[in-house]
């Protein structure tokens, strides 16, 4: 039901409306929301109080100069009760900023938000867990921080413990927990929040598959209770599995609010579009001290088990000092990073004094059929050049295995494994 309701609620850029009465009002109502960050220019920001006082004494009238960045601009939407809304968009589109404003971690710069109840957040799992405290103490501390009252925690304590499966270790300090136990306990607390609105940022990416499914089921229950779930993710699979509607953000603006399929379609097609824009080196993020001149795959198409070779060029620079390294992210069509190839890991550093014509050879894993994009990063202590979608290549729809099987034999998994069976 919520899909159709959400579909009609798209009011991008419409003028502010009179506040709806409490009855029948949407769970979340956002009007003309904007957020600007002021970024201090490099070296223009005193790091010590002494320096700040001295500077003020020397230049009493000078104001600090900032670059203004618009993280969100004029975003307007309504979310009805009982819907699970996915928020998708590329990095820097404003998804996390939107969630941070809704959960009041940061304040908006303009606009107005009306929430129909408390917002519980699951922004990063285990936030507020203290390693020296026991599991029991952490349940209370974390639950309180997430906005639960003591009575609510007491009432749901057994449920939380059961969900997490750490009954035996309740009186043990969590620093002695395995990372799996730690995550399960942290998620269990958060999943039992009784807030009317729940905001989640990528947390389902943790834990094993069984636990992830348990989490998705839990989130569905939350929405079925008539509460509202907001979910930010890069993982298209979980957005599809969990959400009844979705919004697509691009460069701080709400482009689409409606069906999940439409939002995801816009999201995936944005990768190609963005790659085009990023060809203009001056518009790419990074300090610009040194930038990639070009990048292309050695072939347009590869077989899954071929070596994939990315050739890149970096001009020499006399003014740049100190060795730098290169990192490449290979992303699949869903925007999932399949592999991070950092030259530091294989002991390669580059000298800025000379022109570099480099080759990155990705030997494993075998890639599934589809289109892949490569993000290239040039880094020293900070990022000099971040070139997202520097090039793309296609993997042919063939199997890298000696024998064939029906589709269900190879459709699972993000990559193909190189394996043998022995007996």
């Amino acid at each position: 039901m919520s899909t159709s309701r959400a579909g009609t609620s798209r009011r991008v850029g419409s003028p502010p409306e009179p506040t709806a009465p409490a009855t029948g009002a949407p769970a979340v109502s956002v009007r003309n929301l904007s957020k600007t960050y002021r970024i201090a220019r490099a070296g223009d920001r005193p790091a010590t109080a002494a320096e700040a006082v001295l500077r003020r004494a020397r230049h009493p009238l000078q104001r600090q100069s900032y670059d203004v960045m618009h993280a969100l601009e004029d975003v307007t939407f309504d979310i009805p009760w009982g819907s699970a809304v996915g928020i998708v968009g590329r990095n820097g589109a404003g998804k996390s900023t939107l969630l941070k404003i809704l959960t009041r971690i940061t304040a908006p710069s303009g606009g107005r938000i009306e929430l129909g109840g408390r917002v519980g957040s699951l922004l990063e799992i285990g936030t507020g867990f203290h390693p020296e405290l026991t599991g029991r103490e952490n349940i209370y501390l974390n639950g309180t921080l997430l906005g639960m009252r003591r009575k609510e925690i007491q009432r749901r304590f057994d449920e939380i413990v059961e969900f997490s499966g750490v009954e035996k270790f309740l009186e043990t300090q969590v620093k002695r927990y395995s990372s799996g136990m730690y995550i399960r306990l942290a998620f269990a607390v958060a999943a039992h929040l009784e807030t009317e609105i729940l905001a989640i940022d990528e947390v389902l990416a943790v834990g094993d598959v069984e636990f992830q499914n348990k989490c998705i089921a839990k989130m569905r229950d939350v929405a079925r209770d008539g509460r509202t779930v907001l979910y930010v993710s890069h993982q298209i699979q979980t957005v599809k599995a969990l959400c009844s509607s979705a919004m697509y953000l691009e460069a701080g603006r709400l482009v689409e609010m409606g069906s999940v399929d439409r939002a995801i379609e816009l999201y995936t097609s944005s990768f190609a579009q963005a790659a085009q824009q990023q060809l203009d080196a001056g518009r790419r993020p990074g300090t610009g001290e040194l930038r990639f001149a070009s990048a292309q795959p050695s072939k347009e198409v590869y077989r899954p088990d071929d070596d994939k070779v990315i050739e890149f060029a970096i001009p020499g620079s006399a003014s740049s000092i100190g060795q730098y390294f290169v990192s490449a992210h290979v992303n699949n069509e869903d925007g999932v990073v399949i592999a991070q190839c950092d030259s530091r890991l294989v002991g390669r550093w580059f000298d800025p004094g000379e022109e570099v014509r480099g080759r990155l050879t990705l030997r494993a894993p075998w890639l599934k059929p589809g289109r892949y994009t490569v993000d290239l990063y040039l880094c020293k202590t900070g990022i000099l050049d971040a070139w997202e979608g520097s090039c793309t290549f296609t993997v042919l729809p063939v199997l890298p295995y000696p024998d064939a099987a029906s589709a269900d034999g190879s459709e699972k998994g993000v990559v193909f494994g190189d394996f043998v069976y022995d007996s």
């Binding site: 039901m1 002021r38 103490e137 921080l145």
Partner: protein, 280 residues
């Protein structure tokens, strides 16, 4: 489709914050549990991590008072206004520890909890304020010892003892004002962490804590007349040691200064808080 929980829930409005603002009392009240949980965490960790935790709380003021007795009472032979020097400096240290404890524990608290502050919403001012919980525990231990000393030395402060909680609360507010402001400044300026302990050390010696106001030469008295900490110490000594009641303007002034410092500290905090969230 609207569940019963949502019908009774109150609508929350978020809009861009104004220029000067104090945290809404309602928000603070709703988050009181956070204050308590943070305080509980600090107390638990303090006494679980240091094996000598409890003993330390007892020993620290007693040792300091003992040293002050030796240095100021015996070596320098300063006046303590007719009260045995040990009791005199013990009460002084108890009062100082309330002020100093809140200020020094509150100041680094925000940096220490920065991960939390950037991930979950709750009134952030509660982080430095919650440090007062563990100071209250220390204070309680000190007060029990102080009462023991009063009986042991046969000192009867009279009805003025009823006002003691007020002065201790004022010391706490004064310390919290300083600590809360410092905690927000420390996020931005790392040297605040070095300046503050030094400033507090200096304040310890220029305030009449280890010695009585009567031991101060007349020409320097003006410095003590303008120091709110000195007024508060006079009030504490009046209420606990039966020393003469300070003038009314000092009593009123110490309350005004403490409440004022607290509000100013919170105002500075709120102002900076907004900035450190937005200036990356």
């Amino acid at each position: 489709m609207t569940s019963s929980t949502t019908a009774e829930a109150r609508r929350i409005v978020i809009s861009a914050p104004g220029r000067f603002r104090l945290p809404a009392p309602r928000t603070l009240w709703e988050a009181r549990e956070v204050l308590w949980r943070f305080g509980l965490r600090d107390i638990t960790l303090r006494y679980r991590q240091t094996f000598l935790g409890v003993i330390w709380v007892v020993l620290q003021p007693a040792l300091t008072a003992g040293i002050f007795t030796l240095v100021f009472g015996k070596v320098a032979n300063l006046d303590s206004g007719g009260v045995p020097y040990f009791v005199f400096s013990f009460v002084g240290m108890t009062a100082w520890n309330v002020f100093n404890g809140v200020a020094t524990r509150a100041a680094p608290s925000l940096v220490a909890n920065s991960a939390l502050v950037s991930k979950v919403f709750f009134p952030r001012v509660l982080v430095p304020l919650s440090t007062a919980c563990s100071v209250v525990v220390d204070l309680a231990v000190s007060l029990v010892m102080a009462v023991g000393l009063l009986f042991a030395y046969g000192i009867n402060p009279g009805w003025a003892v009823l006002t003691a909680p007020v002065w201790l609360l004022m010391l706490m507010l004064l310390g919290a004002g300083l600590g809360v402001a410092a905690s927000a400044l420390m996020v931005r300026y790392r040297d605040v962490g070095y300046i503050l302990p030094f400033a507090l050390q200096a304040l310890l010696y220029i305030s009449p804590i280890a010695y009585a106001l009567s031991a101060v030469p007349a020409k320097y008295e003006i410095f003590y007349q303008v120091n709110p900490l000195s007024w508060l110490l006079q009030c504490v000594r009046w209420s606990l040691l039966g020393q003469p009641m300070p003038p009314w303007w000092q009593i009123g002034g110490s309350v005004a200064a403490s409440v004022g410092a607290f509000l100013l500290g919170v105002l500075v905090f709120e102002q900076l808080e907004r900035e450190f969230a937005d200036v990356i």
